[in-house]
Symmetry: D2
Subunit: 373 residues, 4 copies
């Protein structure tokens, strides 16, 4: 078996060097092999070209280039790894919706784990309600009175949000009413139904850019492990309380059902790649799929490839900022795998990475979708 | 009605100043009222004394002092606000368990929202299995082979974790078997049962320091909105798969039931105070309790007091790093409330804050517990 | 006089909104004017195109787009502002040398303020000694024995550094010996002589990419206020001690002479733009040129345009992380100016910004060099 | 010779473990030796007690405890190491003045390297002008008009600053006029004269808390390598321009003279300890004293002890955020030394560390001052 080296932040073949001679010369030769090549922007014309040049620079630009390389490798691996995308943060108000949809359409991702907020904001926009350029330097008390919600430098229209909330309540009412036996669903199932809702009621022009709809259409499961912790969850709570008051058992969301489902996807995958956009539950949830297998006596099932874009850092001890190297100790990542962390705001890094990979792959990987393999 | 000023990062009475004269003198007087007083450590003997001195210094030490002041105020408010504690991060391997337990025992907190990891690690230690001082500078592949899990600079014993996992599976089996009608629980209910498990099977000496047990004993509800995303969730998944294979409907965890429960607590509280230790789901989940009320037509129910300890920052647009000021636009926080953010590692800030508040309150607030009011 | 709005983080016309009606509708209209437009990477082909799309996204990508816009504006202002570039960090080992040289060659910058390290590393490479791709995950004790210096993920060859040090000593010896009256120089003067040294002794192929040489050639002054705090300063110290031992008064570097020189440049500029790549002395030193004018009774001479790329943050109270908004209180920046901060690693942001500006300006601004105006 | 282990972030005895058996058990024993002990704030009464308890917690609290331990060790080392304190940031507006003065008075520090701002603000306060509690949430344009300077959440009185500036100009005029031969000084010499100025003209009550005065009194040299880059430098520039206009050669500040002076201090020290409060020039300048010795053929003269308090991080590649481990590759730190980094705002960490060390040492180390040894 060919052994892969873990990339990026923990790359060097320490042991060999350690056992090497203490004389300066041979060691220096070992260490001083690959020159930094100053980036020459005048000769660069494409985003892929920029990212290639970053391979020979330093610090986070080099890590960004490594993300492109690793993403490309996982999409070209003949073992067709199942690619999990963990998506935290407010990606839709940030304008990242189509980047994610492109990843779904172009077969660059097989499974999405995200926050309820990302799914909710996508839903909102699919009905023709939008987010707006704002500023953090405003009087938030006035925004409150104007029914405008602020997400750092971006504004949302509270009244439109309430219109969408009603659609969520109505969907839950409908599902429960039409299915006497269904008293609980996984978040994955409910997200699929939201995709169907967009297909039926969303604006025609907006569907194409909705990632929830694209996932629905291409059979890419979306898991929202903390669905209750979002406006979708609040809509479901309104349904819940309403039905309780009416004496009808309401629709619940069973988290453990989700675990079972994602476990089956992981278990049946030959290999896996992971992409962590921010931290939080999405990152940890994808990490633990490998850990769960070990619990069932399936050893060495850590993920094979991965990159993460984060602005968090390891020294606070939280999972969001932890390194892939730390994950190796848990068996969440294979120590023979290829991983890199790039410390950068996602809104800069993600479009660059996905565009560069697309340019290099001729717009889509050759591999089949997970569901068609 | 007495109006409170929002503290800390958005403190200044802008409007008055704005409408003031443009001449330098009167404005300068307005701005230059409170001198910075250099901290004199030689005259300080207590932690409360240090924190008092921080009131007249700058940057994050002043914010830390503000946390103490606001915490004290919410505990002394005659309206007896219900205090929600959001707890992210790996607080138990960090050695913060007794600080949280002290907060529970001393009636400083009424409701806890946390990650599954915090509850799990607390459970582990209550059975006499521990965490250990380690280092991030180790070979994680060797840790993996040694069955040691790393949490930044701290080690856990994988074999002991597996022993605890079996107890979780057994508990779920038992609950489901003994209660024919119970096919799903809220995370809050399951956490309460875990408290009971500790009471029955935990080490006598360890119970006192377990926050899950203390919550069980003192009727402080623990919500874990993303319970599936933790080792507790993985244990429940083992139960789930086992029962499915046996043809028995397994126990699920219904997230929406949790929402209903915490909504009732928020709805019936006269006032509320919030403490965010880190971000993630716990912070957002407590934030949204206020937002949910608005959905039901109960306006201006934002939280009244709050402080957060975080190392995240607002400019990435995520909820974990957002300011209280941003929350005002959503109605999650009252703009007349008192709030402050201290940017600091929790393991430093939390023990200092809780100790200083205890010193000032004569070891416990005078108010009654939420459940006894 | 046409009034400019301060951009980016403190953009919104607060006052007007404040005096507006309290009814939701008109305020909402005011706030919800500019939609976030999801970035569509499939339709983007150039770096300038990517940066344009970032104008309508959020968080740091929008700020990155603002940097491009403000940089372009300052280069197109008919008043021909003098552009000061503050350059901290290890930009040459990072591979950013040619980006800076391009800025000098293309008339995008008039004055550089930097650390001694940046000038030194540029000097090293001009003699054909290089920096190398390394990793932070190595045994630094072994690097030490191998005479390899580490700069995060990049390696330097200590033996080559020593060869360059000797050239610095020799240059100082020569200057002092050949100029009986010259007992001290400004850092600006010494840097110019280093440019001459590169011209005489540097590798032909390397000169073109050296920013010190390009500055020498195009008469762009380089100030290194803390020159002593670098390997150049250490070389000068070797010269100093050698001459002292020989009983000859050595060459000194007079910091205040630098202040006088940069003050004259600022004083005679009609307008000024500032670019802060990282913080430290370069940022503060450029900031204070405006403050110094005020000391001489020349009011309202704050800089007119500016952008900064930083990973530091304001809440620690240091100058490196301070906002442009804070600088307004000091008169360092005009409150009517246009400024933006982008929180990003420089090695990613700088090449993107400079490339995008070049694409938009047809490869160089039309304005004349400062020295030719 | 007894070998010391490098502490904190690179603590573990890797080699021994590496050569150990691959069986889980013995390795686990090796790794799982020191239990995390939950901090029990109820039993803690002193700051030293809190810091001792932090020794057995995790993340940054443990690193904070390590700072105390290493500081104590360097003060108790019978070889009497010379202790260098690097001081960046706005420590005086932050209220940290007396903490630094205490360190000077109690013989905890032998040499200070700082920014001009720290010395300037100390000077300002010694004349009875102060800094004030402010807020970052203000209109900085109004502050400008009110002649108030903002430092994050702290205000300064511009008019008082100008009074102090005149004293600096007058001092430079006087020095130059009274000493015909003195055309340049080191920053260290000028700072000493500023100490004398405070002694003559400062308020009696304020002297005791001034760190510049305490250094003057106790013969602790203060180096300000980038003195030009501060209000002191601007005052000197006013003097410079004034004298130039009068046709008199003005007083310059010769940076290289400083290098010579600090080099002599380092060269003659048996051992050295370093404390970095923030990064910037002070940190690098102290680092390079060890590097300079190597240039003169004195090998293995890296610092022996050190701790740093920072909020910067290594992955941007800058010197401010670099680890001690990186410094080992350069020979700036001994790989057998004891070092730790604590990621925390200085205004919280520094008073705690200094107080805890004082409590443990019975209020002052037993060793003699550097100048009395």
């Amino acid at each position: 078996m060919q052994k892969r080296r873990v990339k990026g932040s923990f790359k060097h073949p320490k042991r060999q060097i350690r056992s090497g001679s203490r004389e300066a010369a041979p060691l220096s030769k070992e260490f001083l092999k690959k020159r930094i090549i100053p980036i020459d922007i005048e000769g660069i014309n494409t985003i892929s070209g920029m990212l290639s040049a970053f391979h020979n620079t330093s610090f986070q630009s080099r890590n960004l280039a490594c993300c492109v390389e690793i993403f490309k490798k996982m999409l070209e691996d003949p073992d067709e790894p199942t690619v999990f995308l963990g998506l935290a943060g407010a990606m839709i108000p940030a304008g990242m919706k189509k980047v994610i949809s492109t990843m779904v359409k172009r077969k660059m991702v097989d499974v999405i784990v995200t926050t309820g907020a990302n799914a909710y904001h996508d839903l909102v926009e699919s009905f023709g309600y939008y987010h707006y350029k704002g500023s953090p330097e405003v009087d938030d008390a006035e925004l409150y009175q104007s029914r405008i919600d602020r997400i750092y430098d971006t504004f949302a229209d509270e009244e439109k949000y309430r219109l969408v909330d009603r659609k969520i309540v109505a969907l839950a009412d409908k599902i429960r009413t039409e299915n006497v036996d269904v008293t609980s669903m996984s978040s994955r199932e409910f997200l699929h139904d939201l995709g169907g809702l967009i297909d039926r009621e969303g604006l025609k022009d907006e569907k194409e850019s909705s990632f929830v709809w694209n996932c629905w259409r291409h059979n890419v499961p979306i898991f929202v492990p903390a669905l209750a912790d979002s406006s979708i969850g609040l809509g479901l709570t309104q349904h819940y309380i309403k039905f309780l008051r009416e004496g009808v058992r309401p629709l619940g969301i069973d988290q453990i059902k989700d675990n079972h489902e994602i476990f089956e996807i992981k278990r049946t995958a030959k290999k896996t790649g992971v992409i962590y956009i921010g931290g939080g539950v999405p990152k940890n949830y994808i990490q633990q799929t490998a850990y769960l297998e070990d619990m069932f006596g399936i050893p060495d099932r850590g993920h094979d490839y991965g990159f993460q874009i984060t602005t968090d850092r390891p020294e606070w001890g939280g999972l969001s900022g932890c390194t892939f190297k730390e994950g190796v100790s848990w068996g969440k990542e294979k120590h023979t795998g290829e991983f890199v962390t790039c410390y950068c705001d996602v809104t800069i890094a993600l479009p660059l990475i996905v565009k560069a990979v697309l340019e290099r792959l001729g717009n889509a990987p050759a591999m089949k979708r997970r569901t068609e393999r």
